[in-house]
């Protein structure tokens, strides 16, 4: 056997792990989606599409989908606007603190989601940093509602996906070359025009990659919408959890989980196609 033919052997450990911790439970999920639920919530073993049919006939499922998509789109956009300049700076800087700065930028990734959310509660709450500052400046009299609603969830989500997007952008900036910007400058383009005509178009593949990642992460985020949403924010992820752990309604949770999984797969494929197209 040649070395290249033995190469796939390297995939065996990961594949086995995936089979045990991912594929097997997913099959269980798949099975549950075909069960039914009795009038008081007891699960009835069956091979039926009744649960799926009822779930997709419920207009709330459609609402949840729109909520998830909208929340993900807005959070991703905000995170992108913040992550892009940071990444560009990190990509470019010759500072000897570059490594340190990069670590600082992705540090939130290393903090538990729950801890991060409580941090936001402390900052955005009625008696949090933002509201007390605005109040002491006399800009507002009653606190702004910044948590336990869509605003809070959007802010929290944008922050939580930002580090991932910074990493994706840094990885995707491959074609970005300082010399190309210098060439544009030498040809008469101002710094802004250089950004618009050279830097931005060349970083589009990275942006597509990062946006795709951010969107998928937002779609599947549970902790942030749950803890910052104050029970007002209904998205697919929170609904799946609620159905499974509060309503004991595993079949509906399974149907929604599979539905979300398919949505995410489609989104990933689309974002990859877009990124690849832009790469050309």
């Amino acid at each position: 056997m040649t070395a290249s033919r033995r190469l796939p052997l390297l995939l065996i450990p990961a594949t086995l792990l995936l089979l045990v911790v991912y594929v097997w439970p997913s099959l269980g999920l798949f099975r549950n989606a075909f069960n039914e639920v009795g009038p008081t919530g007891a699960m009835v073993e069956a091979w039926s599409l009744a649960t799926a049919r009822a779930t997709f006939h419920d207009s709330f499922t459609f609402e949840l989908t729109l909520n998830s998509l909208w929340l993900s789109a807005v959070s991703t956009l905000i995170a992108l606007c913040l992550a892009y300049p940071v990444s560009l700076f990190l990509f470019r800087t010759d500072s000897r603190f570059r490594g340190l700065l990069a670590v600082v930028a992705i540090l939130p990734m290393l903090v538990s989601g729950v801890v991060r959310v409580f941090g936001w509660l402390a900052i955005l709450g009625d008696r949090g940093l933002v509201n007390t500052t605005l109040q002491s400046l006399g800009l507002i009299t009653t606190p702004l509602k910044l948590v336990f609603n869509w605003t809070g969830v959007t802010i929290g989500l944008a922050e939580s996906i930002m580090p991932y997007m910074i990493l994706a952008l840094l990885a995707g900036f491959g074609r970005l070359d300082r010399t190309l910007e210098e060439a544009a400058r030498s040809l008469g383009a101002s710094p802004f025009r250089t950004f618009r005509r050279v830097t931005l178009p060349l970083s589009l593949p990275a942006i597509a990659l990062a946006a795709g990642l951010g969107f998928v992460l937002s779609m599947s985020a549970y902790i942030t919408p749950k803890l910052l949403g104050g029970g007002r924010v209904f998205v697919l992820a929170t609904e799946i959890f609620e159905q499974a752990t509060t309503n004991t309604n595993w079949p509906v949770a399974a149907v929604l989980a599979i539905y979300t999984l398919i949505l995410l797969l489609v989104l990933l494929v689309v974002s990859n196609l877009v990124a690849r197209r832009l790469q050309r």
């Binding site: 060439a183 544009a184 008469g188 178009p201």
Partner: protein, 349 residues
């Protein structure tokens, strides 16, 4: 007042000095090479001129007005980068049009000048291609056309030929030189390749450790190097350690040579300026002479290199090909005109 004047330019990065003190006058339409080994500060000088980096000290004046603090995009310099720096997301045509579009030139005029530019570099018909679909030489020419169509005040070429293979480089050398002459465009050409410098430029500034060691035309630099560095860097030279004999005469290989006796110095003679003659032939009044034994002769195509060994070392003589090389082991005399002798002190180390 010259067209382009650099005065006392200096660029430091922390404690290291990239460009120490560069002053240079360039006339309109002149092509000047900045020649030197890597790290001598030639590219830094070019980048300061283009406005891509700011000097710590010194001034730059173009056509009577100071441009030292002018941002790059307002300098109107055509810069051809070593890597060509073609925009990968734009077609060849859009690459060439870039500078014109930034100048707000009308569409019709842009189209016309892009066509002219393509014709100038003999790439007509390729405007729809993407840069990566072109060969290295073609990319080089697109970069040149892109820099030329903006009708720059100065054309700056940064090691522009170093990424091409030898044959293509030769062709491009002549092409660029003829375009430069035709357009009469003031050109600064950074290179580490002395052949490029010698063939493409009116004058050559040899740079060493952030300063200009010597500036002059090809003959000045080659035949009358001002410093030991120039003599060593440009062309080939036999470096023969000088000693002094009992009578106080300068000697090489324990044989007297007609130069001033100097402590800690070497005698530099170009191999092409030397001739091999039979030992029996007497020395002329204005020639220098050393005897030795032929170690070997190597045929290199356009000339023959003869390696001669003497009492204290070796030297190389270049004979025109076609002349009969002396057989190995023969005792010969090496002679050269006295005027071709240069003496440079050894650098204190």
């Amino acid at each position: 007042m010259s067209y382009l004047e650099l005065a006392g330019l200096q660029k430091r990065y922390g404690n290291s000095v990239a460009v120490d003190d560069v002053s240079l006058l360039v006339e309109q339409g002149e092509a000047v090479a900045l020649l030197g080994p890597s790290g001598c500060g030639k590219t830094t000088t070019l980048r300061m001129l283009a406005g891509l980096i700011e000097p710590n000290h010194g001034t730059m004046t173009l056509d009577g007005s100071e441009i030292t603090r002018l941002p790059a995009h307002k300098r109107n310099m055509g810069y051809v980068f070593q890597s060509y720096a073609l925009f990968p997301h734009l077609s060849v045509g859009r690459n060439i049009a870039f500078g014109l579009e930034e100048r707000g030139v009308s569409r019709a005029e842009i189209d016309k000048r892009v066509q002219e530019g393509l014709a100038l570099v003999r790439l007509s018909g390729l405007e729809q291609r993407r840069p990566k679909e072109l060969s290295g030489g073609q990319q080089q020419r697109v970069a040149l056309a892109r820099a030329l169509v903006i009708q720059p005040s100065v054309l700056l070429l940064d090691e522009s030929l170093s990424n091409l293979d030898a044959k293509l480089r030769d062709a491009m050398r002549h092409e660029i030189r003829s375009i430069q002459r035709t357009l009469g465009i003031t050109t600064l050409f950074v290179t580490h390749d002395q052949v490029e410098a010698l063939t493409m430029c009116d004058r050559i500034a040899v740079m060493h450790r952030g300063r200009i060691a010597q500036i002059g035309n090809a003959e000045d630099i080659y035949d009358r190097p001002a410093t030991r560095f120039v003599a060593e860097f440009v062309g080939r030279a036999n470096v023969l350690p000088l000693a002094r004999d009992a009578q106080g005469r300068a000697t090489v290989w324990e044989q007297p040579v007609p130069v001033e006796p100097t402590q800690n110095a070497d005698l530099f003679v170009r191999p092409q300026r030397m001739r091999i003659v039979p030992v029996s032939e007497p020395a002329g009044g204005d020639t220098a002479r050393l005897t030795g034994r032929v170690l070997r002769s190597v045929f290199v195509g356009d000339h023959v290199e003869v390696l001669v060994e003497g009492a204290g070392g070796q030297l190389t003589v270049e004979m025109p090909s076609g002349s009969t090389a002396p057989t190995e082991g023969t005792e010969v005399a090496v002679v050269w005109p006295r005027a071709e002798s240069r003496v440079f002190a050894r650098e204190a180390t």
